[in-house]
Amino acid sequence: MAVCIAVIAKENYPLFIRSVPVQNELKFHYTVHTSLDVVEEKISAVGKAMADQRELYLGLLYPTEDYKVYGYVTNSKVKFVIVVDSSNTSLRDNEIRSMFRKLHNSFTDVMCNPFYNPGDTIQSKAFDSIVSAMMVQAS
């Protein structure tokens, strides 16, 4: 279960960010922001084969003592960042992947909505529900 989920646009501004412990949101915002650097580093690593060979799932971006940050980037350079609590029994990689997959799918649905202007913050309720399902229930 994620503690914070964020969707970052291509220009590196957040389209959607939500954390569970509402009180400490700023910390997670900062974490997500710093994780963007790691994401950039990863996606620039594969220079030759552009998006073709590059895998969307970036894996663990960096761990801290409190939590772990996972990244995922789409072919249109939209980044998904999931912050998971370290104390939580470490989720398997597959679970994280499936979470990203769900995020990507619902993000695609949001994009398909003609009333959604790319670049706007995501206010889709369906997307919200998917994210809520993935967030930690407690707190």
Binding site: A45, V46, E55, N105, C112, P114
Partner: protein, 796 residues
């Protein structure tokens, strides 16, 4: 009659009533029957009704034209408000409440305020109107008040005349959801709003006056609500620029065409009953026939093909006209675009339209798509909804295939999504599985052994044996005693060899047949081919090998591929044969090889027998070798026998074995020890050492798969030298043959023939090895690329 000025609310109301009365669909004359019923419903004394009738001019005209009807209605309102009936009062009375018509069936006797034209409809609804249970007047009032502001916006939008017909059909649907909402929501503000919407301004005062007798008001409200809702709904359309204005018209036409108010009433009744019966069912979201027809017509304006899609941009444009906030439109889209394809099918469009209408009427949007709005998917593949299904959807309320009901029962929806997701996952897993190359290799490995010629394992070309035996016999016949000599050992040896390597056996035969030169070479090559094919995943070669064998006189089948061992063995043999045979001049050309090869023959020879598979490879080369070489191969296993033929046979044997050793990679395991053993036994053991070396090289990959890979590598590595070895062996065999035979002329001719065959074989072998080299290089490149790709992620 004096001109009649009606307020917008009145206009709408009257037009609705007129439509209701317009049973003949003349749009001009209201049937007297209906009108009279209506007037009776006004709960006015009959003489008042008569008076009104007379005043409006109907009596004079004999029928109720629209103007007469309107006047009559106004007079009714006047009368109901207690004002004296005067023609002049028509326009003088301001803020006259809308005429009320009591619907007999209505539970509520007293009609609140103006029962909208729905009164008639209400009558029809009666059964339906179920009553909005909790409608409290307070709510109504509040809603009323709330609605009021809406009304002004709505009213002006209402267009006279044409809207009336629209209103009626609209009434039912909005009503239902309205009611439903009302039931569900403690504060049915929305609902109230709707009814009020239309008559807002007029109603406000009226309602307040009616606050008391609320009970009936519920029914009336409900009855009223539909019309106002509808009107607002309609007005919604009207609000939009040109297209919207056409909407009501369009809607009107179909409505009128489809059914008069009766139909609507019946429909609404049905809806109502259904709603009532279902209790908590999602009635409010049902789409009536009229509505659906309206939606369909709207759909046609955008997309003529009813089975086609409306692209997202067009839909966006269309729904933006409803002037709902983008956020709500976005939510409506999410709900209605069921297949998430960015386009709306007819059903999806109807659902979206319905939601827009509802929202316009201040219905809260559901969190999930209501069942009744769920697009019917006969097949998940069939994305195009059939229009005729619409009514079913409207009334059945449950999609055929799509089980998930978003609002009524989310679980079902959730089920489908997980299913879809699972499908995706299944796809993913499937892809993952399919990506595994193990199956391919296993398949290859399975096939390889299946082909006796290509069998990696020792017992390779069993089936070669018979043909080889045949060839051997032929060889024997041709070559005569000398051949028989070598052949005999061959004959004797096969059983021994069969224990070890069938290939060896076959090779023996091949060698025996080498007397024919060509045939034996064929057999060799064919044997080699299978091995090669096994090694190189080239089944075709294996296929060819048996053919090669069978074709006695046919040119050698594709030469063994990567059979470095083969080439080596042949070359070694050749070398050995050259070294051993003083009569090198015959093989001058070939002699070139020998010097370089000397050591090889030994290993090749030693590995000869076991490289049963190799033997196939070496067969080609061996083919040119004397039959004696063949026997020598089996001799590997049986060194004593081999030694017997050591002198003359060895060279040829070496030559034979050398090619056989080529495929050793497959039999590398056995090859090593065998080679070493044989090398020990054989005299010209320069080759033996080489063979042993080869054996050691070959030995490593125990498994067939690995063998194959390694054999490929090794083969390629050894290919060139082996080829030379093959040539050498072949050449060596040739001189040995004549020597052994002793018949110079024949021997020379045979040797010449064999040389030619060898040449062709070697040439082919060369080409194949080149091909293998290319393949391996490509593999290497791909592996490097993969490695590079993986490298960045290895940083984690």
């Amino acid at each position: 009659m004096e001109s009649l000025t009606l307020t917008d609310g009145e206009q709408k109301y009257y037009s609705d009533l007129f439509v209701y009365c317009d049973t003949d669909n003349t749009k001009k004359v209201a049937s007297n029957g209906r009108v009279l019923d209506l007037f009776r419903a006004a709960q006015l004394p009959s003489e008042v009704v008569l008076q009104i009738t007379e005043l409006c001019g109907a009596t004079r005209l004999g029928h109720f034209g629209r103007s007469q009807f309107y006047i009559a209605l106004k007079l009714i309102a006047v009368a109901q408000s207690g004002l004296p009936l005067r023609v002049e009062s028509l326009n003088s009375v301001k803020d006259l409440p809308l005429p009320r018509f009591v619907v007999a069936k209505n539970e509520q006797e007293a009609r609140h305020t103006a029962m909208y034209p729905d009164s008639e409809n209400q009558g029809s609804y009666q059964g339906v109107i179920p009553r909005p249970p909790g409608r409290g007047q307070v709510k109504k009032l509040s809603a009323h008040e709330v609605i009021q502001p809406c009304v002004p916006t709505v009213e002006p939008q209402l267009q006279p005349d044409t809207t009336s017909p629209v209103v009626s059909p609209h009434q039912s649907p909005p009503t239902s959801p309205h009611w439903r909402k009302h039931k569900r929501q403690a504060s049915g503000g929305n609902i109230e709003r709707q009814p009020v919407v239309v008559a807002g301004a007029v109603w406000t005062p009226f309602r307040e006056a009616q606050a008391g007798p609320v009970v009936s008001g519920d029914g009336m409200w409900s009855a009223n609500s539909p019309p106002p809702v509808q009107e607002s709904w309609v007005s919604l359309k009207d609000a939009h620029p040109p297209s919207s204005s056409t909407l009501p018209a369009i809607h009107c036409s179909p409505v009128q065409e489809n059914s008069s108010i009766r139909t609507v009433a019946s429909a609404t009744t049905t809806n109502e009953t259904q709603r009532h019966s279902s209790g908590g069912y999602d009635d409010p979201w049902k789409i009536t026939d009229e509505q659906r027809q309206y939606y369909i017509n709207q759909f046609k304006t955008i997309q003529p093909d009813l089975n086609g899609f409306i692209p997202g941009s067009a839909a966006k444009e269309f729904f933006t006209k409803s002037k709902l906030p983008i956020l709500e439109l976005s939510h409506i889209w999410e709900l209605s675009d069921f297949d998430k394809d960015g386009a709306l099918t007819l059903d999806e469009f109807c659902a979206a339209f319905h939601l827009v209408v509802a929202r316009k009427n201040s219905y809260d949007l559901p969190e999930k798509l209501p069942e009744s709005l769920m697009p019917k998917l006969i097949d998940l593949d069939d994305s195009a909804e059939v229009p005729d299904q619409a009514p079913d959807v409207g009334y059945s309320g449950s999609p055929v295939e799509v089980t998930p009901n978003k609002s009524p029962s989310m679980p079902s929806l959730n089920q489908t999504w997980p299913d879809l997701n699972q499908g995706n996952e299944q796809w993913e897993t499937f892809s993952e599985r399919s990506s595994s190359s193990q199956t391919l290799t296993q398949f290859d490995s399975n096939i390889a052994p299946a082909d006796p010629d290509t069998a990696i394992v020792h017992p390779v070309p069993i089936r070669m044996t018979p043909s080889k035996i045949h060839m051997q016999e032929m060889e024997l016949k041709r070559t005569g005693s000398d051949h028989t000599h070598p052949t005999s050992p061959l004959m004797a040896n096969p059983p021994d060899l069969s224990e070890e390597t069938k290939l060896a056996t076959s090779m023996k035969f091949v060698t025996v047949n080498s007397g024919d030169g060509y045939s034996s070479s064929d057999s060799y090559t064919s044997d080699q081919d299978p091995i090669t094919s096994v090694v190189t995943r080239q089944r075709s070669h294996s296929g060819t090998s048996p053919e090669g064998l069978k074709v006695v006189a046919a040119p050698p089948p594709p030469p063994p591929r990567p059979h470095a061992s083969h080439s080596r063995s042949s070359s070694l043999d050749m070398n050995r044969s050259f070294a051993a045979v003083p009569t090198g001049p015959q093989l001058a050309g070939v002699v070139a090889y020998p010097p370089a090869v000397p050591p090889r023959p030994l290993p090749t020879q030693t590995s000869g027998p076991h490289s049963g598979h190799r033997s196939d490879e070496g067969l080609a080369a061996h083919s040119s070798t004397s039959p004696q070489q063949i026997p020598e191969q089996p001799n590997f296993a049986d060194f004593s026998q081999f030694q017997a033929f050591a002198a003359s046979d060895q060279p040829s044997d070496d030559g034979e074995k050398h090619p056989e050793s080529l495929p050793v990679e497959k039999s590398s395991e056995g090859a090593g020890p065998l080679r070493t053993v044989k090398s020990d036994n054989q005299e010209e053991r320069a080759a033996a050492t080489v063979n042993s070396a080869k054996g050691s090289i070959m030995a490593p990959p125990p498994k067939p798969v690995r063998r194959r890979l390694k054999s490929e590598d090794e083969l390629q590595e050894e290919a060139l030298p082996l080829k030379s070895n093959v040539i050498a062996t072949v050449l060596a065999a040739q001189p040995s043959i004549p020597r052994s035979v002793g018949k110079d002329k024949k021997a020379i001719q045979a040797s010449i023939r064999r040389n030619k065959e060898t040449n062709t074989v070697l040439a082919r072998l060369n080409s194949e090895l080149q091909q293998q080299l290319k393949d391996l290089l490509e593999e290497r490149i791909s592996l490097e690329v993969q490695l590079e790709q993986l490298r960045p992620f290895s940083h984690l």
